[in-house]
């Protein structure tokens, strides 16, 4: 992390810390559910430390817990992880990171770090937002995963604490600042409808990709439509 990046509590740093606490605590839910799905404590800890992308981790344990094969769990986790590749593309374009940082940035490239970075106005704030949210969520997510895995049964059903509801609000909170004009609102509605329509039809993890494909198609239609009209 560049030395001057976190020397002050800028808006990006504060947002990154908030997201780290809010989303990181949700790791307790992953830890508890993972052990309940039949993974060992150390397999659970390994998923958070090495995979470190919540959607893929939940997909992996959901398939195992549902009696699916390891190969099916791998496929679900991989498909849901495709969006991180798109985030990496976007972060490279915005942050222009030096090559030597890419192996570390890659591991910290998740929904929250990307959203915190792209929500900022200038380059330095974007860099601060990325590192604060990325490193912050990493530390919190792994600590709470271990806690959830060890104390899973003592906590009981994480749903009773509303942790699944916290995730709903957390993602809405990342989306909300982007809904500033008609176009993004239309895209958000189309993506949500496509997602909900696909949920019963395809395995978990795939609806997000269908939504991405539909979003790309809407963009292409508007982009090339504008060109043709000009």
């Amino acid at each position: 992390m560049p030395a001057n990046s976190t020397s002050r509590l800028t808006p990006a740093v504060r947002m990154g810390v908030s997201i780290s606490i809010a989303v990181g605590v949700y790791g307790i839910s992953f830890g508890a559910l993972s052990v309940a799905a039949g993974l060992s404590v150390w397999q659970t800890v390994a998923l958070s430390a090495l995979m470190f992308t919540g959607g893929s981790q939940f997909a992996f344990i959901a398939v195992i817990g549902g009696g699916g094969t390891g190969a099916a769990a791998l496929a679900a986790a991989t498909l849901l992880g495709v969006r991180n590749g798109i985030y990496g593309m976007q972060l490279k374009a915005l942050l222009r990171p030096p090559g030597k940082l890419i192996p570390l940035m890659g591991q910290l490239t998740i929904d929250e770090s990307t959203a915190t970075a792209v929500a900022q106005e200038d380059h330095d704030e974007r860099v601060r937002g990325f590192w604060t949210a990325g490193a912050g969520v990493y530390v919190m997510w792994n600590a709470f995963t271990l806690l959830g895995a060890l104390a899973g049964n003592a906590i009981g059903d994480p749903k009773l604490w509303g942790l699944d509801g916290a995730a709903v609000a957390a993602f809405l909170g990342l989306l909300w600042p982007r809904l500033t004009a008609k176009d993004p609102i239309a895209v958000a509605i189309i993506a949500a409808v496509a997602t909900i329509a696909m949920v019963p039809l395809v395995p978990p993890g795939i609806p997000v990709l269908v939504a991405a494909a539909v979003t790309a198609a809407v963009w292409a239609w508007r982009h090339f439509g504008r060109k043709a009209a000009a």
């Binding site: 908030s18 997201i19 606490i21 993974l39 397999q43 390994a46 998923l47 090495l50 995979m51 959607g55 893929s56 390891g70 190969a71 769990a73 791998l74 986790a77 991989t78 992880g81 495709v82 991180n84 990496g88 593309m89 976007q90 972060l91 490279k92 374009a93 890419i102 192996p103 890659g106 929904d111 990307t114 959203a115 792209v118 509303g162 509801g165 916290a166 709903v168 609000a169 957390a170 809405l172 909170g173 989306l175 982007r178 895209v187 993506a191 949500a192 496509a194 909900i196 949920v199 395995p203 978990p204 609806p207 997000v208 939504a211 991405a212 979003t215 790309a216 809407v218 963009w219 982009h223």
Partner: protein
Amino acid sequence: MSLWVWVLLAAFATYALKVSGYLLPQAWLDRPPVTELAGTLTVGLLSSLTAINTVATGQALAVDSRLLSLLAGAIALKLKAPYIVVVIAGAAAAAIGRRLGLA
């Protein structure tokens, strides 16, 4: 033991995907349509993730306390609450809904 192999393979696959985006040439990424597409995709992906977390339970659709979380989160955001308050509002709404007997 064989589950360990799948854990490690899946972790490697998701890491490779994360890094892959950074390997695209900068000049290609700087073309305006690509940055515009990336911005549009972010909205679509975040909306999709919000929808999944609200109504999906595995492969089934379910209307339950999470809808209260969405509503509580939206109200908090409308009132310009800090992000952490938005998240706590979402958790509290689901927890209250469940204590009241909703799924």
